[in-house]
Symmetry: C2
Subunit: 188 residues, 2 copies
C-alpha cells in the first residue's frame, strides 16, 4: 500500500503519570504523558515538560520531582491535574501527600507506584525541556506486588492517545517478548 505523507505532529500512546514537585513549600501535581525510562544503570526517567509550567518551577527550585502511576480508578483526578494549573488552583489537597528520601518530591499516596527522582540533566529544546531524573527510590502498594515484583496487570495503568484525546486501558497480553521472534530469521 502506498503511504501518504501526513503532518509531522505524530503522537505515540502515552502512559499517564503524575509529576509531583514542591513549588515553594506546597506540593503540586501535573499529569504528563511524554515520559519514558532511560538509562539502565543507574535507572533514570525522562519527562518532557513545556516551559513555564508551574510544576517546572518546582522542579527547577528543588532539583527533584516524583513520578506516580495512577490506576484507571484515578482517571478523574489525573485528568484534573492536567486541566488546571497550579498557578490558578491549589492542587495540594487532590491527593494525600507523602515524602520520602528526597524530602521535596511529593508523592500521591493513592497511586500504587511512586518514584522519587533527582534531576541529573535538563535538555532545553524548542518549546519544551526534557528533565532527566535518576530514580533514587521507588515505592509500591503491597497489592500490586507479587513476590516483591510489580505485577503490571494489577497496576491498572492507562494511556492517553492523541489526536483522539482518549484514555485507554492497558490491553491483554498476547505474546512473549524476547521470545516470539526467535524463529523469524530462520524462516525468512
Amino acid at each position: 500500500m502506498a503511504k501518504k505523507e501526513i503532518g509531522s505532529d505524530v503522537f505515540l500512546p502515552m502512559p499517564v503519570v503524575l509529576v509531583g514537585a514542591d513549588v515553594g513549600s506546597k506540593p503540586n501535581f501535573m499529569a504528563a504523558g511524554w515520559v519514558t525510562r532511560v538509562n539502565i544503570e543507574p535507572p533514570m526517567v525522562a519527562v518532557a515538560l513545556t516551559a513555564g509550567r508551574y510544576t517546572v518551577k518546582g522542579i527547577e527550585e528543588h532539583g527533584t520531582f516524583s513520578l506516580c502511576l495512577p490506576s484507571k480508578d484515578l482517571v478523574e483526578k489525573a485528568d484534573y491535574c492536567g486541566l488546571v494549573s497550579g498557578k490558578e488552583v491549589d492542587k495540594s489537597a487532590v491527593f494525600e501527600v507523602q515524602y520520602g528520601k528526597l524530602e521535596t518530591a511529593p508523592m500521591a499516596v493513592e497511586c500504587s507506584v511512586c518514584m522519587e527522582c533527582r534531576v541529573v540533566q535538563v535538555v532545553t529544546l524548542g518549546s519544551d525541556a526534557i528533565y532527566v531524573g535518576e530514580i533514587v527510590a521507588a515505592y509500591a502498594d503491597e497489592d500490586v506486588l507479587v513476590q516483591d515484583a510489580l505485577d503490571v496487570q494489577r497496576m491498572g495503568l492507562f494511556f492517553l492517545t492523541m489526536p483522539d484525546n482518549k484514555y485507554r486501558l492497558m490491553g491483554e497480553e498476547f505474546a512473549e517478548a524476547f521470545s516470539i521472534g526467535k524463529n523469524v530469521g530462520e524462516r525468512d
Copy 2:
C-alpha cells in the same frame, strides 16, 4: 495502605517502535521501547539507546533515524529485531525498505506509520544516550487514516511491559481526556 520500598529499576509500559538507521549503506532496524514524543513545536521524539548498539553506529554516522510503528501483526518481526544485533545478522531484508526526504533513514514499509527524524541533540547518560530527533516527515497507510488524521484504534499498536516481558495490546477507550476531570475541583 502502607507502601513498600522496591528496587529503583521500575518500568513504564513501552510502546514498541522500530528504530531504523543505515549502517554504512545497509538499512538496519532495532526494536525499542524507551521512546516518547518531546517538544510541541517543532515536533520531536526522544529515544534512549544503549551505547554500542549497532543502530547507534548508523545514527551517529548519518545523524538521522526513522521511527516506525509496528502493528500487532508484526510482533514476531519486531521481537526479532530486538533479539538479534545487526553486528551478527543482516536485518536489511526483514522489512521492505523505503527512503524519504532524509535519504538515510530507512523505513519499514510494512509498518502503517513511519517518521523520518534528524538528530538535534544527543544526551549522554550512564549506560545509554538519548537521541532527540526532529520529525522531518511522517507517512501513514491510507487504512489507518480517517479524514487525514491517524486513527489510533486502526493502528493496532502494542506495548512491552516489564518485568513480566509481555507484549500487550492497546486496550479500550474508557474516558475522554481533558474532560472527565473537569468537575473534580468543585466536588472535592
